[in-house]
């Protein structure tokens, strides 16, 4: 969907060209580095400095904080009628949903603005502005929920908060201060959008966007360290005594896996929420121009969501692998113990995501009449993706402890059981990802005919690449999965992943080259898409939200009856690990609350443009 296509499709307006002076790159780099330094110091450098201070002035191991207190049920303040644990749970989850959104939006707004600057197509700039506008109101809700979370932790879990803040006081302090930078940058970026236009000013504006992302990412990394410390503590001795090395506590086992996973997942999530916005506006639109605009926006959002969704299973796998490396017990409880069924629910959700995203692409093919020739392939894509989803969804043995095994009875199905182990899952997800990429490739070709001389050969190479790749993925999955041992089984997943990524990279590059100067078969008409495609976008947003809520439950629940694993025991009245049904219900309530707030946010962005004629109200 290049700007050429949009123009030819009879879309709105013509691209205007700005003859702006481009400033020297070195100047920009200098400005960038200069402005990043305080951020760097504030975010990451300081804890090390402080740690060094503590140890150098006091010499050897010094008790700076801890050990954590041994609590009883009476030490947890209660408010009549409020379930403390559910309250903190919902506050945390709502905050995370909004935070993920407001962190993700600047990332793709930055990219879209950059694309607009490169192509000099103003439509990208307008769309980027519209995205950032949505996130402004969301930003204040994020802050409100953050405040609610902090208050509820202090009120209901004062000792936990006291212990954690004793360790993380420097990072929490900087976290709070960094919000000045975040707010300043966000507001200037948004309010100054039409002021900082053209030439040098546009570069300044883009740089502000970059800084906004840098600060936002730093904020997330800081908060991630507190949460991962609770799961995999470091920098404290087995009794929980903290000797002052804040960096060691931050840099615990799960910090970087969560950083990576959340960074990528946020982008995918942000894309899906914006997609829901676009879908809603599309359905409400009355004019052709509006429909075209929001169709394009929805497509872009879906594209962002899928692009980030593709590498996500690998980030998740890396996270799980690190959990296993930290504590085999925790890892086994996660995937082979009481939380195992949770991952089946996760499989259903991810399957929903892939199916919705693909369905949207297939519906989108109808934008061009030229797509008819590819319609016949869609059913095969659907069959493979659904098949892969079913494999992914099949459970295996549950390695249950205690009475749970007796309660469940027999452990697995004679024929489908083998589909439940990890190699089968890895194979299935790689196939799902590959075929989603294939859907995208077909979509790209829908309205074009390649004009290069080597079209046939090019297609042959593509087909061979996919065939060889799929065979390789199956080989790695089946042979190593069922005929070798655990070490080989796990190791084989790496070349599997790499195969998928190589296929995607090579085929897209090849396709781009092959379709250079391609003829258009029929114009791509933005706006010509059935309403059910918009519902696929809603499905995407709702499923994503629910999935995030479920994963949030796992992240916290895997600690079971510990505030800080193996260090600080949870003795509150609600220390029990709830059943999956209970957790699903809380997540559902949270999702409904979040959707209601999000609809409020969307509505607000509309209301600000409305005007009422107050006839006879004002003095003449």
């Amino acid at each position: 969907m290049t700007s050429k296509q949009i123009t030819r499709a009879g879309g709105f307006g013509a691209a205007h060209r700005h003859a702006g002076r481009r400033p020297p790159v070195w100047l920009l780099l200098a400005v960038f580095v200069f402005m990043l330094l305080p951020v760097d110091f504030a975010g990451l450098g300081a804890p090390v400095a402080f740690a060094q201070d503590a140890s150098s002035s006091q010499g050897a191991e010094q008790v700076v904080h801890g050990p954590p207190p041994s609590l009883s049920a009476a030490d947890y303040p209660q408010i009549a009628g409020i379930n403390a644990r559910v309250f903190v749970w919902l506050a945390a989850q709502l905050h995370l949903w909004f935070a993920a959104f407001v962190l993700a939006v600047p990332i793709f707004v930055f990219i879209i603005e950059a694309i607009g600057m490169k192509t000099r197509d103003e439509r990208y700039d307008s769309m980027a502005y519209e995205f950032i506008k949505i996130s402004i109101t969301a930003y204040s809700l994020t802050a409100i929920l953050g405040g609610l979370l902090a208050f509820s932790l202090i009120i209901f879990y004062p000792h936990v908060f006291g212990y954690l803040s004793g360790i993380f006081k420097e990072t929490m302090f900087f976290y709070a201060l960094l919000f000045f930078a975040e707010s300043a940058l966000l507001y200037i970026y948004y309010y100054g959008w039409y002021w900082l236009q053209g030439g040098f000013k546009k570069w300044v504006h883009l740089t502000l966007g970059l800084l906004l992302n840098a600060v936002g990412t730093t904020l997330m990394f800081l908060a991630n360290s507190w949460v991962t410390f609770m799961m995999s503590p470091a920098g404290v001795d087995p009794a929980g005594v903290f000797a002052g090395d804040a960096w060691a506590a931050m840099h615990n086992f799960l910090w970087n896996p969560i950083n990576l996973h959340r960074f990528v997942a946020n982008i995918a999530y942000g894309g899906s929420i914006v997609g829901a916005y676009a879908a809603f506006k599309f359905l409400s639109a009355t004019r052709e121009q509006e429909k075209a605009h929001y169709d394009w926006m929805g497509y872009t959002a879906n594209f962002i969501a899928i692009s980030a969704l593709l590498p996500l299973p690998f980030a998740g796998y890396y996270l799980a692998a690190e959990i296993y490396a930290y504590s085999q017990q925790m890892g086994i409880t996660l995937m082979g113990g009481i939380f195992a069924w949770l991952f089946i629910i996760q499989a259903v959700l991810i399957g929903t995501l892939f199916l919705s995203a693909n369905y949207y692409l297939w519906c989108g093919m109808g934008r061009s009449d030229g797509a008819h020739r590819y319609n016949k392939y869609v059913k095969y894509l659907a069959i493979v993706i659904i098949g892969a989803f079913l494999v992914w969804f099949t459970p295996h043995t549950l390695v249950l402890t205690n009475e749970e095994l007796k309660a469940l009875g027999g452990p697995y199905h004679k024929y489908l059981g083998p589909l439940g182990i990890m190699p089968a899952k890895n194979t299935a997800v790689n196939i799902m990802i590959l075929f989603t990429a294939l859907s995208f490739l077909i979509y790209r070709r829908a309205n074009r005919i390649a004009t290069v001389s080597w079209v046939s050969a090019g297609n042959a190479v593509q087909a061979a690449l996919f065939t060889a790749g799929i065979l390789n993925i199956l080989f790695l999955g089946i042979y190593h999965g069922y005929f070798t041992n655990t070490v080989y089984k796990v190791a084989a997943s790496i070349p599997q992943v790499l195969t998928t990524l190589i296929i995607i990279a090579v085929s897209i590059s090849l396709d781009t080259v092959m379709y250079r100067g391609a003829k258009e078969v029929a114009p791509l008409r933005w706006g010509r898409v059935p309403d059910r495609a918009q519902y696929a976008l809603f499905m995407l947003a709702v499923a994503f939200t629910w999935l995030m809520g479920l994963m949030g439950y796992i992240r916290s629940g895997i600690r079971q009856h510990w505030h800080v694993t193996d260090v600080f025991r949870d003795n509150s009245p609600d220390a029990f690990t709830p059943t999956l049904g209970y957790a699903a219900n809380v997540v559902s309530v949270g999702t409904i609350l979040f959707m209601a707030m999000v609809i409020f946010v969307f509505w607000l962005s509309q209301v600000s443009t409305r005007k009422s004629e107050a006839v006879g109200y004002w003095k003449a």
Binding site: S456, A457, N459, A460, V461, A463, A464, L465, T467, A468, G469, L471, N472, L476, H480, F483, T484, N485, V487, Y488, A491, A492, I494, P495, L498, T499, I502
Partner: protein, 38 residues
């Protein structure tokens, strides 16, 4: 047809070799062989 079939098989063999090399390389990097060797 010939413009398709020949390139297809040539590319298939090439890609198969490529992926085999990838598998071997990555497994070796992890200290393992491609085929199970306890």
């Amino acid at each position: 047809m010939r413009t398709y079939v020949v390139p297809f098989f040539v590319a298939l063999i090439a890609c198969a070799a490529l992926f085999l090399a990838l598998d071997l390389g990555v497994m070796n990097l992890m200290g393992l062989t491609l085929f199970f060797n306890p």
